[in-house]
């Protein structure tokens, strides 16, 4: 008789989710699904609002990545205005986006995933949390605190406040940077760079312990999407969309935000509120995409900053770099890039220019803004009427792009680690951990209320729920 396992809620992710594992008659895993059980509705209730409210409205989608939504939204509004924003404004937005990516990666790596990495997938769940990690490796914990705080402080210094800064506006930013603020940020960066390098070194040293996880943590060929600059460098704020296949062949290149509808189609699955975008020309589900830190490193030819580029070139030598387990390493490499790039940008000569905003009335009825959020490519698409009121909003979110791959990854891990009726904590933790490699943020992807737990269910072919774990 076949059966079903449910993990509900999935822990240490951002949002509410649930995993169902379907067992076949012989007790092997037939299928597994990752369900997102929360619904929000931002796309709908933005309709009728004046377009210039969109950045601050959209920032409220999430307390984790408000900055990412601000950036994509402000860019979509720039497109509605039909303006090219002042270069200093673009540079300052770039710095804020990088600080956002770095602080989010620090949260994901040091707070959410490090307990598994440090204490092991089978360790006592009552210890497998931040406190357990503090006790086992206080230096790593201190480094996590420092890196997250560095990113948060940069956002706060630039935006005036940390969680929902209102500094980004259509046409640029609302205030120029002062020399004093620039110097405060620059002073933090050498330490952040050194600590990030230590974390990379530590992560590489523990990799041999996770060879089994590497082999099955969503380790399969998919397309990868991300932004690159004109020269093919890793890019997070602006640039062109590029899609590569599992062998690194470029499938799409130099695509602009306006082209996104030619590239991406969104499927809706009955088991989840999270949409499943895919690469349109290859169809559903052959067009399965991944986005985020791993994908960005796989689409970029190189990184423009030296230390991160050296790490990228080393990463490219890893045979199993398609495994989603390497999202963790990619996060650390991107953090290193973020600190280096912030340093470079802040040292440019016109960074203190007072010309940081372009003013205009709307010049287009439709605008698309694309930027890289910590979890991957983020797309905001707005339409307005002649009075500048929003008539249509479509948000294609990083976690959505990864949905098909996360589902396939959950299935791959369940098939390797879950057998019949013997449910162990370590098995189920691995099923959750593969989800955590993607660092899904369900709050924005479904448009969720509240905090973030997940839930696993084991289901028989007759639909009977045989076991259930909720944390």
């Amino acid at each position: 008789m076949s059966r079903e396992i449910t993990i509900n809620p999935v822990t240490r992710i951002e949002g509410h989710g649930k995993i169902t594992i379907y067992l076949a008659d012989d007790g092997s895993v037939a299928d597994a699904k990752f369900h997102v059980t929360q619904l929000r509705g931002f796309e709908k209730f933005a309709e009728g609002r004046p377009f210039h409210e969109m950045p601050s409205l959209m920032a409220r989608i999430c307390g984790i990545c408000p900055v990412s939504h601000l950036i994509a939204s402000a860019k979509a509004c720039d497109a509605l205005l039909g303006v090219r924003i002042p270069p200093t404004a673009a540079a300052l937005r770039r710095v804020m986006n990088l600080a956002q990516i770095a602080q989010s990666h620090a949260l994901s790596f040091f707070y959410l995933s490090a307990p598994d990495l440090l204490l092991g997938m089978d360790s006592d769940p009552s210890q497998r949390n931040l406190f357990g990690m503090l006790a086992a490796n206080p230096q790593l914990a201190r480094d996590g605190v420092t890196l997250r705080q560095t990113g948060q402080q940069i956002i706060e210094i630039l935006g005036g406040k940390r969680i929902h800064p209102g500094w980004l506006v259509p046409g640029g930013v609302s205030e120029p940077l002062s020399a004093e603020k620039r110097d405060r940020i620059l002073a933090m960066l050498p330490n952040a760079i050194a600590i990030t390098q230590q974390a990379i070194h530590w992560f590489k040293s523990i990799l041999p312990r996770f060879s089994e996880e590497i082999s099955v943590f969503a380790n399969f060929p998919t397309l990868h999407m991300g932004l690159v600059d004109r020269r093919g460098n890793l890019e997070t704020y602006d640039g062109y969309l590029r899609i590569v296949d599992a062998d690194g062949n470029v499938v799409e290149d130099r695509m602009t935000p306006e082209d996104y509808l030619d590239l991406i189609e969104e499927a809706v699955e009955p088991h989840s509120f999270l949409k499943s975008p895919y690469y349109k020309p290859r169809g559903y589900t052959d067009g399965m995409l991944r986005v985020g830190p791993l994908s960005r490193l796989l689409v970029a030819d190189q990184i423009s900053t030296p230390l991160a580029n050296a790490e990228l070139q080393a990463f490219r030598q890893i045979p199993e770099r398609q495994s989603s387990f390497y999202y963790h390493l990619a996060r650390l490499i991107e953090m290193l890039y973020a600190w280096e790039e912030i340093q470079r940008v802040l040292k440019t000569s016109d960074i203190l220019s007072e010309h940081v905003r372009a003013y205009a009335e709307p010049n287009a009825f439709e605008g698309v803004g694309i930027s890289e959020a910590p979890r991957g490519t983020l797309m905001h698409h707005y339409k307005i009427d002649k009075n500048g009121l929003i008539t249509y909003v479509n948000l294609v979110i990083a976690t959505g792009h990864n949905n098909l791959a996360m589902n396939a990854g959950v299935k791959q891990v369940a098939q390797r680690f879950v057998h019949g009726d013997r449910l162990s904590e370590g098995m189920l933790n691995r099923v959750e951990a593969v989800i955590r490699t993607f660092d899904p943020c369900l709050s924005c992807s479904t448009h969720a209320i509240g905090q973030m737990p997940l839930h696993i269910q084991l289901v028989a072919p007759n639909g009977e729920v045989l076991d259930e774990i909720a944390r």
Partner: protein
């Protein structure tokens, strides 16, 4: 450095009282060695400023105290629940600051009884009336050598 951390969501009525106290302290009682942080919820990176403080006072709304009552209580580190990235208590932060940095600032939690957590930016009358008393209590605790027992 003395640190005051006001916790709450000002869009949910009385829940914002901790943030209101922090805002009033920052506006009217600034001092060179006083740092005031207002936040929606506690997060692990607060361990860093806590570890540098000689005294930390948390201010939060209480759903169990009578509306408008203001209490100061000591924080017991032994009873700290596990630290997660999403639900962090004052005691857990203090324990982490001790474990990671060997910091043991004097500490207290000031809680204000709240009754209305519905959507809205206004405090209910008893909580609005408690605001100056809560500020005064923070200020009195910030006096050197006052201990909460």
């Amino acid at each position: 450095m003395r640190l005051v951390i006001g916790i709450g969501n000002t869009l949910r009525g009385d829940d914002g009282i901790g943030v209101r106290v922090a805002q009033r302290l920052a506006a009217q009682h600034s001092a060179p060695d006083l740092e005031v942080i207002a936040c929606h919820q506690l997060t692990p990176e607060l361990i860093a400023p806590i570890s540098q403080a000689e005294q930390v006072i948390f201010v939060d709304a209480s759903a169990t105290q009578p509306a408008g009552s203001v209490q100061a209580q000591p924080l017991h580190l032994q009873s700290a629940p596990p630290l997660s990235a999403h639900h962090v208590t004052p005691a857990a932060l203090l324990m982490a600051a001790d474990l990671l940095y060997g910091a043991q600032p004097r500490s207290a939690l000031i809680s204000v009884g709240a009754q209305d957590f519905s959507f809205g930016e206004r405090l209910s009358p008893p909580v609005a009336e408690a605001l100056p008393r809560a500020v005064a209590l923070v200020l009195s605790l910030l006096e050197p050598q006052r201990e909460v027992t």
